[in-house]
Symmetry: C2
Subunit: 367 residues, 2 copies
Amino acid sequence: MVTTQMAAESATATFERLVLDSGAVLAPVEVAYETYGTLNAARDNAILVLHAFSGDAHAAGEGGWWSSMIGPGKAFDTDQYFVICSNVLGGCRGTTGPGSNNPETGCPWAMTFPSITIADMVRLQKELIDHLEIPRLLSVAGGSMGGMQALEWAVAYPDRCASAIPIACTARHSAQQIAFNEVGRQAIMADPDWCGGNYYGGKPPANGLAVARMVGHITYMSDQSMREKFGRKLRTPDQFEVESYLKYRGYKFVDRFDANSYIYITKAMDDFDLTQRGALPTLFEGSRTRFLIISFTSDWLYPSYQSLEIVSALRSRNADVAYCNLEARYGHDSFLVEVEDQTVLVRGFLSSTHKEETRHRGTHARA
Amino acid sequence: MVTTQMAAESATATFERLVLDSGAVLAPVEVAYETYGTLNAARDNAILVLHAFSGDAHAAGEGGWWSSMIGPGKAFDTDQYFVICSNVLGGCRGTTGPGSNNPETGCPWAMTFPSITIADMVRLQKELIDHLEIPRLLSVAGGSMGGMQALEWAVAYPDRCASAIPIACTARHSAQQIAFNEVGRQAIMADPDWCGGNYYGGKPPANGLAVARMVGHITYMSDQSMREKFGRKLRTPDQFEVESYLKYRGYKFVDRFDANSYIYITKAMDDFDLTQRGALPTLFEGSRTRFLIISFTSDWLYPSYQSLEIVSALRSRNADVAYCNLEARYGHDSFLVEVEDQTVLVRGFLSSTHKEETRHRGTHARA
């Protein structure tokens, strides 16, 4: 394959105010985002890509978290589509979050930051899409927490997204998913350097955050992939490879992630439960959004049955839904690394969605 | 069922010295143990029950960790059998461990305690069985780390155990199993109260140990059992039941367990790998020990394939092995709570083993 360069734009948009689910108001609120490819004249080729828990706006290009999937000729083909990715609300990579300054005090919000939800994240993304003057997204797509946001988009703004690609996700966090997140939060809060969240300008709770990340890492891999990657290999006579790897990854995470963001974002994930707004099928009633839902056989953190629950709800309302449980060995991480099958699925789905959208507009124009 | 009383004896045996795998010598070494039922005149009805990671010698009766399985008329029927359970080497419930005093210094060993192995634990148990003048155990039985000890017994002292019942265990710890243990250790060692292990007489690393235990708890349950037990139920408007439960169990654990024992014992589990001594089938060559191996369908921490690996090795040597993968919903904890099917299996297996042993001795006596 010939490597072609991809034009990427990095920017920050500031909005006057954002009203949250809690009733709290953030004023102003900033959102960091990147775009890849070119928005066409019809403004109908835009795809919003949604990052997982620890991701950021840098989705494609060198070091991008989904660079295997986004780029010229890739699944999200930037020669054809205009791809947008923003850092989520509550994040620590350019978008307003607990590490941002509270304009009323001039000091970091820390734990006084209002609680946020997946719906709040999506609300801010919708502001961004309005700001970019995109009437209707060709697709909203993401894995893990990104998949939850894609679902939220389809439920909250069905007319603004022609399609949704929720990957390796769930319509509601389970007790086990909450439990793993809670262990991470407890590890952070048990670290004396956390100081009730007021560590900005000082030493961050590195040990607690590293332990939290280690737990996370185990849940992202599969038993099989860990066995194949590490097995019982030793790093030193007293340390297994897997121990060394986890510790390295845990402490490396501290350099790029804020512990309070960890707490706020995992809480938003845990609180995510679409069924609180009604039985799942009723939420998709009359929706014209097309769905491609993907899960992975070895993903035990977001098991396939959770995707199937969404698929069943959509099918019960005759929604347009394609579902694939991909044979994969890398566990939850599969959405990031098992790109071959995903590429085939996503490419075909986007292409048919684009054709369908064009045909639909043509029909309406002729009418 | 009529409740009958069970005579229980609690004692501590002291041995002059124990040479460990590392070459280090513990002198003296104490082992806390309990016995239930009566040793018969032939001394052929003794069963050694082996506890899991956080267990102790108190296996049966009020508050015993396997009281559902041990007692009059139960799987390990104390009306018929003499059941022994001892706290493992490295433990903190009466047997010598890192919290014991180093006789040379008069101070707690802490992290100067020599590293221990599952084989060392079994070596100490063998001293105890010699001390109790039991020539041959009817069975060695346990789940999880208890199952590893049962396997170790069968490999190290095949002539001393007529049968072995390894439940929900493995012949070697996997990368994922090591990883979960390492997170627990890191959580403990990240706690400033750990003080390099020298916290005796002061404040123990409660937060670190509680976080470690929380991780453990999640791995002991299944996705299904957590969903059924907690679901998304709230304890308070801001706290899920599952969060409250984990925190409660985590901190409660601190009252009864020593953080350094956590480190030493999990390390022994991680280092456990029977295949280091030869291919698994060769280790059972010529063994006359009968095996009953049990795993549970929902146990994702010690998945069934690990038990099957042992079963295959035994079958390849025409060993006497019965295997059952029990349909169970409680994950790894199933060995403690799903007692009905286990009772049927264990009772029949012990009874036939006892008959077989009697027949065998009769044949030899007549010869």
